[in-house]
């Protein structure tokens, strides 16, 4: 099984030199800690920053400088600030190469739901609907099952959708999943996790042969 850092480290393998990347709140944020040495990746924060740096040193927090998770951050040499329309302009125009975001549910068609539980929780979609409608590569980082132990990889989403047929890859504590015409495809297993265990915990249609390799990192 992967822990949160393991999921982030696995997703970091999707990064390529020169990528512009938008990381969502939660596990996706951790991906920034696993950018390989020597690889140049620019992080886009949709509140208006390209070239996001690490958290500031204690005492150097700037209330005018935050990321989309409202955390205090820093800039790097070459960073740029812009307004929210330009920020979503570059997203909509397909300039952002990779988006990593969390989800409550993903369907076997690649639909994603992550912004609302009717009658219970309404936080809003923030920038997620814009990102999933336009980013070139969309990877979901999430726990495989919800708190009640039910699969979050489903035949169809039961919650209000964020986007339609847009997710290309899902990484959970159990493995890495892609999509084909039939549904989910197991690509890699988390270390020590068997295919039967993954099948048992996946409600959506899953293609898995048993020969899928364990996840390994460079």
């Amino acid at each position: 099984m992967l822990d949160k850092n393991g999921i982030a480290r696995t997703i970091a393998r999707e990064l390529r030199d020169g990528y512009y990347v938008n990381l969502g709140i939660g596990i996706p944020t951790l991906v920034a800690n696993f950018i390989p040495n020597g690889m140049e990746v620019q992080l886009q924060s949709e509140n208006g920053l390209l070239g996001m740096g690490p958290f500031p040193w204690e005492g150097e927090e700037d209330p005018d400088l935050i990321n989309a998770g409202k955390q205090t951050i820093t800039t790097l040499p070459g960073s740029v600030f812009f307004d929210s329309a330009m920020s979503f302009g570059m997203i909509r125009a397909g300039k952002v190469d990779l988006t990593v975001l969390g989800a409550m549910e993903v369907s076997q068609k690649g639909d994603i739901a992550n912004w609302k539980i009717p009658g219970k929780m309404v936080k809003g979609m923030g920038g997620a609907m814009d990102l999933v409608a336009s980013a070139r590569h969309i990877v979901v980082a999430m726990q495989h099952v919800n708190k009640a132990g039910e699969s979050k990889l489903l035949p169809q989403c039961t919650l209000p959708l964020t986007g339609l047929a847009c997710v290309q890859k899902v990484v959970t504590e159990l493995g890495v999943f892609g999509f084909d015409d039939h549904g989910f495809v197991l690509l890699e297993r988390a270390p020590g996790v068997g295919v039967e265990h993954i099948k048992t915990h996946t409600r959506g249609f899953l293609t898995a042969h048993g020969s899928e390799p364990e996840i390994s990192w460079p």
Partner: protein
């Protein structure tokens, strides 16, 4: 035009008088404080408020709205503040009738009023929010965006296919007032923002029928480099200096010094 040039008799030769008045009307947009700048803001108004989370919010304008106790407001803002700061103050006071936002996760009172039906809420994608502001400021009645297609955001909206993608028609906002916070400004209303406190502020400044800007520093015309001005003063109607900004931090994240 020379930097030191001033409007004077020499400029009027050949111009009609009304053109002269339109071109050279007085340009002093400075008010003393938030209350005077918002003197005519009434119950039932639709207003835009800049800021992302608590970053770059018009703190003094919000305080003045609380003080004036104007009610039945429709507020267009990316977020709704936190329980005891930002737009949360207006929510606590039940001054907001309808909220148009993209993310409201940080405000328990908001969620309570929403789930109980006391507050009318329209949640829209953040890029749609920004672009509907932009459309208003650029004089365009509507824009097409793919965000929200196939979701409940698309319900009742016109769609159109361009290439291999379906887009939603989203209309420009129509707000009575835009309340924004800038870093520096001059009496002509030219504005400059700082770091990520820019966010929605310039867009809303350009979209308001009456735009009120609060600034940390009011400078003389000419002090701002024309190449570095983010919002031309033509969009800004009133400006005042805010003092003692609280600038509350929502998530203080640091690297501890070892």
């Amino acid at each position: 035009m020379n930097k030191g040039a001033r409007a004077g008799p020499g400029w009027t030769s050949g111009l009609e008088v009304d053109v002269f008045l339109r071109v050279f009307k007085p340009m002093n947009k400075v008010f003393t404080d938030a209350l005077s700048a918002l003197h005519d803001l009434q119950d039932g108004t639709t207003l835009m408020l800049g800021g992302f989370g608590l970053c770059g919010i018009p703190e003094h304008c919000i305080s003045a709205l609380v003080q004036k106790d104007v009610r039945n407001l429709t507020c267009i803002s990316n977020n709704a503040g936190v329980d005891d700061f930002g737009l949360g103050l207006l929510l606590q006071n039940r001054q907001i009738r309808k909220m148009i936002a993209s993310y409201v996760g940080e405000n328990a009172e908001f969620e309570r009023q929403l789930l109980s039906g006391e507050l009318e809420v329209e949640l829209i994608p953040q890029g749609t929010l920004a672009t509907r502001c932009l459309a208003a400021g650029y004089g365009m009645p509507a824009i097409y965006t793919p965000a929200g297609y196939g979701t409940e955001v698309a319900e009742g909206k016109e769609t159109r296919v361009f290439g291999d993608k379906t887009y939603l028609l989203e209309t420009a906002f129509d707000a009575d007032y835009a309340l924004v916070k800038a870093w520096k400004g001059d009496r002509l209303g030219n504005l400059v923002f700082r770091a990520t406190s820019r966010n929605f502020n310039p867009l809303m400044a350009m979209a308001g029928k009456i735009t009120v800007a609060e600034v940390e520093e009011l400078v003389e015309p000419g002090a701002l480099d024309p190449d570095h001005i983010h919002v031309p003063g033509i969009y800004v109607h009133r400006i005042f200096v805010g003092t003692n900004y609280e600038k509350r931090i929502e998530q203080r994240t640091v690297r501890p010094r070892s």
